[in-house]
């Protein structure tokens, strides 16, 4: 018995020591100060691939840097940003007025930085052989609030289409892509049916659409680009010949020359002015706006023109606060004009 007792006590001592060592190594970081060396980023799933790429390359250049990126959706990202929990937020739409108010109330100043153009891709499963093009009218009929419970089969969208269930996939209510899409297609931000598969994580949407022959969905172009073998892109006809006749398929060229309407838009990052005071955040933002263009292209989005990037860099340098879009979505506005106006008040 005595041998067991000694063995047991030694065992306990060893394991307690181990646990304490683990914790001590952890506590070496000290108080919340350890957290402040981290650049915390969250927000849009659309912008996420760019920010992830920039963060990865940035950390290769500066190994001491620590960047974390989450995907809570544009809305979720802003709520964390305006609560001071993140330094940078990814957004696939401009900041809303209510979010501006929340930031002001919390004393958080922000700098709005467009970083790329995106075209919202409408996709179906490759086995879908009946949808060749879609008009904005078709899309509205499929996604408007009145469609909830009413338009649930393909033959209800356009006569002649197969008699089968319509499985819709789209970003959730926290997503900037969702906000922009509803504004551009349904006419009012946030106005959408609720009975579809919604997720802030666009990867889930890709997975759902690529394994379901009856599926249709939308998300940022980069997610289509990354998964071309699994999806089929649907050209969209906005029935407005002034910006390109007939159905136009989403592509970097169509987004760049403005013919893929109304589903082309700028996407952003927002940085808090307090965080810009930290050298590592400043370095990260600079890196984003210089080397970011190549990464934007690599990921599948459309970089801004060099002149536009200069204007954005100027915004960052001068710490121009506030939003250029007045809380609206900016459907149809010219980014270059807005940038020029805001940096030369």
């Amino acid at each position: 018995m005595r041998r067991l007792e000694l063995g047991g006590v030694r065992c306990v001592a060893f394991l307690s020591g181990l646990a304490l060592a683990v914790v001590a190594a952890g506590c070496g970081g000290g108080e919340r100060a350890a957290g402040s060396r981290v650049i915390a980023i969250d927000g849009s799933s659309t912008v996420f691939p760019i920010t992830e790429a920039v963060a990865e390359e940035f950390q290769i250049l500066s190994p001491d840097a620590r960047v974390t990126v989450g995907i809570s959706g544009t809305g979720g990202g802003f709520s964390k940003f305006c609560a001071g929990e993140t330094d940078v937020t990814n957004a696939s739409r401009p900041i809303k007025l209510v979010e501006v108010e929340a930031c002001t109330a919390a004393g958080i100043g922000f700098v709005e930085l467009p970083v790329a153009y995106d075209g919202i891709a409408i996709v179906v499963n490759p086995e879908n052989d009946w949808v060749n093009t879609l008009t904005t009218e078709d899309l509205r009929r499929m996604w408007e609030p009145a469609a909830q419970g009413a338009v649930v089969r393909w033959e209800q969208v356009r006569t002649g289409w197969p008699e089968a269930e319509l499985h819709l996939f789209g970003p959730g209510a926290d997503s900037g892509t969702f906000d922009y899409f509803t504004e551009a297609i349904v006419g009012e931000e946030g106005a959408s049916r609720g009975d579809f598969t919604s997720s802030e994580d666009d990867n889930v949407l890709v997975q759902g659409i690529s394994t379901d022959a009856l599926a249709l969905g939308f998300f940022g172009y980069a997610y289509y680009e990354e998964n071309r073998e699994r999806l089929r892109l649907v050209p969209v006809d906005d029935e407005d010949d002034s910006n390109g006749a007939g159905p136009i398929a989403a592509s970097p060229e169509a987004v760049r020359d403005g013919t893929y309407q109304p589903l082309s838009r700028p996407i952003f990052v927002y940085v808090s002015t307090a965080s810009l005071d930290r050298p590592e955040v400043q370095a990260f933002v600079d890196f984003y706006l210089t080397d970011g263009a190549d990464l934007v292209r690599e990921v599948g989005y459309v970089p801004l023109s060099p002149h536009e990037y200069d204007l954005v860099a100027q915004r960052a340098q001068e710490r121009v606060e506030g939003t250029m879009f007045g809380g609206a979505q900016g459907v149809g506005s010219s980014l270059e004009a807005l940038l020029a106006a805001s940096t030369h008040p």
Binding site: G73, G76, K80, Q148, G149, G172, D174, G194, D195
Partner: protein, 296 residues
């Protein structure tokens, strides 16, 4: 060798240990408090009747409806599939191991089944999405990538060891004299098992089944990965659905601000989930105690 005594020290230790034991009660109070507080706030805006009996769940969208039945239907659908797999397989396994298997087989099979129970649920989610669903899609044309059948089957595999091991305990606790009495009357082993032993162990087996059902209802990762995120009231296991647990994960991933109605929906659904599993666990414990009473 007399060790020095210190009454004050003794009492301090006792108080510290008492605090530790009381912590478990605090945890339960904490859970109920957190859930109840937000749920009550929620019911100030939305009527409990609409919540419990409404058939459309779109709390995050334009046309806000707060009927939780689609989520409940999704949860029940997946759980029913899981029980359809786990109950027969688990009970038959228990019968085989308890009444027929030689000791050497039992000694090998039981630990292996325990391994099934110990596999992390995210691994099961992977298995459901990337192995079972494609397999089923070859057999069932038109099966959507996200559906209730695949995670249901995988969940059944996950809870099978629980059903099997608890049922086996129940079968074991049936006294030998009952079996011997049946043999004495000329019954075969199969007849004895089916018509004497299993009915005698009925409350124990039901307890196992109910506990397994509770586990299935509360399971999160398998359904989040493989069942989909579309709340719909349906009885078809072949289309995307959403369970209560997957909804909670979905909304917290999106981080709705505290204090909003959307935030409160997480807790209202959580309260429903907690109440259901709690009730099932109580029922299971009561049945198990009844079995113990009958034979001890």
């Amino acid at each position: 060798m007399a060790l020095p005594r210190n009454a004050g020290f003794e009492r301090a230790i006792e108080r510290f240990l008492f605090a530790c034991a009381s912590l478990s009660i605090l945890v339960t109070i904490g859970i109920v408090a957190v859930l109840a507080f937000q749920t009550i706030q929620f019911f100030r805006t939305v009527s409990p009747v609409e919540f419990l009996f409404g058939t459309t769940w779109t709390p995050l969208f334009f046309d806000k409806q707060f009927g939780v039945l689609p989520l409940v239907a999704g949860t029940v659908l997946v759980s029913v599939v899981a029980m359809a797999v786990a109950l027969p397989a688990g009970l038959l396994t228990a019968i085989y191991l308890s009444e027929y298997a030689p000791t050497s087989v039992r000694r090998v099979v039981k630990p292996v089944l325990e391994v099934l129970a110990g596999v992390p649920t995210v691994v099961y989610g992977y298995f459901a999405l990337l192995f079972v669903t494609p397999l089923l899609q070859q057999v069932i044309p038109g099966l959507a990538g996200f559906n209730a059948l695949s995670p249901g089957i995988v969940m059944g595999i996950m809870i099978l060891p629980m059903v099997s091991s608890l049922s086996e305990d129940a079968l074991h606790s049936v006294p030998r004299c009952l079996r011997e009495g049946a043999y004495a009357l000329g019954a075969t082993r199969a007849q004895t098992t089916v018509r004497v032993v299993v009915p005698a162990a009925f409350s124990g087996v039901s307890a196992a089944a109910i506990l397994a059902m509770s586990r299935a209802i509360g399971e999160t990762m398998i359904v989040t990965i493989a069942a989909g995120q579309q709340p719909r009231l349906t009885a078809s296991p072949l289309v995307p659905i959403e369970t209560m647990t997957a909804y909670i994960v979905q909304v917290s991933l999106g981080d709705t601000p505290a204090g909003t109605l959307e935030y409160q929906t997480i807790f209202a659904v959580g309260m429903l989930l907690f109440a259901s599993t709690f009730t099932l666990n109580l029922a299971s414990n009561w049945l198990r105690d009844r079995l113990r009473e009958e034979y001890i």
